[in-house]
Symmetry: C2
Subunit: 186 residues, 2 copies
């Protein structure tokens, strides 16, 4: 089984990935794949270099280049684990790449939704160097994701978690869903 975890920036995706990981389920981050490719090519990890490598990958491997690299990684992981999590999917086109690469495999989309104003305050509070300082930054970052078509992936989710509650309550929802998905599989 392949579990695609999706959601807007700051929605709480990583909590889901971590829960799977605590159950021994490996994951592939599509963002990490581009960052690793950047390092492999002897470039420093700056925003500009990562963007440059993204474009170059597309020139070399075609549209959905990152999804294609992800397929290779997932193939390796499926040899050792019956479940693999993918995070960082941004379009239904990428989902289609996975569906055709793994025709026999069950592929499910898990989305997490957090209202925009809550994502904004949480990201601001987190304050990672690339987190938005203003509402304009926040909207710009959202827009980047939406442009790729992440909204369509969210709209077609098989499971939708709503993270508009306390952290404890969200943790409970995540634990419950991951348990349900892994029951009878591992």
């Amino acid at each position: 089984m392949i579990v695609i975890v999706t959601g807007m920036p700051g929605s709480g995706k990583s909590r889901i990935v971590r829960e799977f990981s605590e159950h021994g389920v490996p994951h592939v981050s599509m963002g990490d794949i581009v960052r690793e490719e950047t390092l492999k090519r002897g470039l420093e990890l700056t925003k500009e270099n990562v963007a440059k490598v993204s474009i170059r990958l597309r020139q070399e491997l075609g549209q959905n280049a990152v999804a294609k690299l992800t397929v290779e990684r997932v193939k390796e992981l499926l040899k050792k684990s019956s479940v693999v999590v993918i995070d960082g999917v941004r379009s239904l086109d990428e989902v289609g790449t996975f569906r055709s690469a793994f025709p026999g495999e069950r592929i499910i989309i898990v989305a997490v939704h957090t209202p925009p104003h809550m994502r904004f305050s949480r990201l601001k509070a987190r304050g990672r160097h690339d987190d938005p300082k203003s509402w304009e930054d926040f909207e710009e970052r959202d827009w980047k994701e939406l442009k790729f078509g992440i909204g369509s992936v969210i709209a077609m989710a098989d499971y939708m978690l709503v993270n508009d509650c306390s952290r404890a309550e969200y943790n409970r929802k995540v634990r419950e869903l991951v348990k349900k998905l892994l029951t009878g599989i591992k």
Copy 2:
């Protein structure tokens, strides 16, 4: 306050509109607006005519033509009611049209999410003449909505209801949300 109700076909939007209506809140259906325009122009209500009128409206009023006609209708309704519901929004561009037409007004997006396989069985069971008979029909109809950018509207919702439960449970969720939204407003 303007409440934009959104969701994929068969997700359960109309249940929310009806709940508002039972509280005396009027609504504008963007789909009805095009159908009314079709009749006004002396044309029969066929799929082809409605599509033709949609295109003609855009030629006459520019992109977001239907949203612009909706604005006029909402303006009228806001004279009599402090809350108006809009359904049938398909893109963030249309949401933007409403935001700039009503700068002082609170505008919120309420989305309902139902997993695709559940929407398919419910639509098939409903069997309205335009409901999908096969999974291919269903995907085609979904794709039409997604192409407009409805996924981005869903991803930016202020409130998200998940309709993956029993009808009674969903009714309870809808009643609770509508009550919460109307408290202190009417």
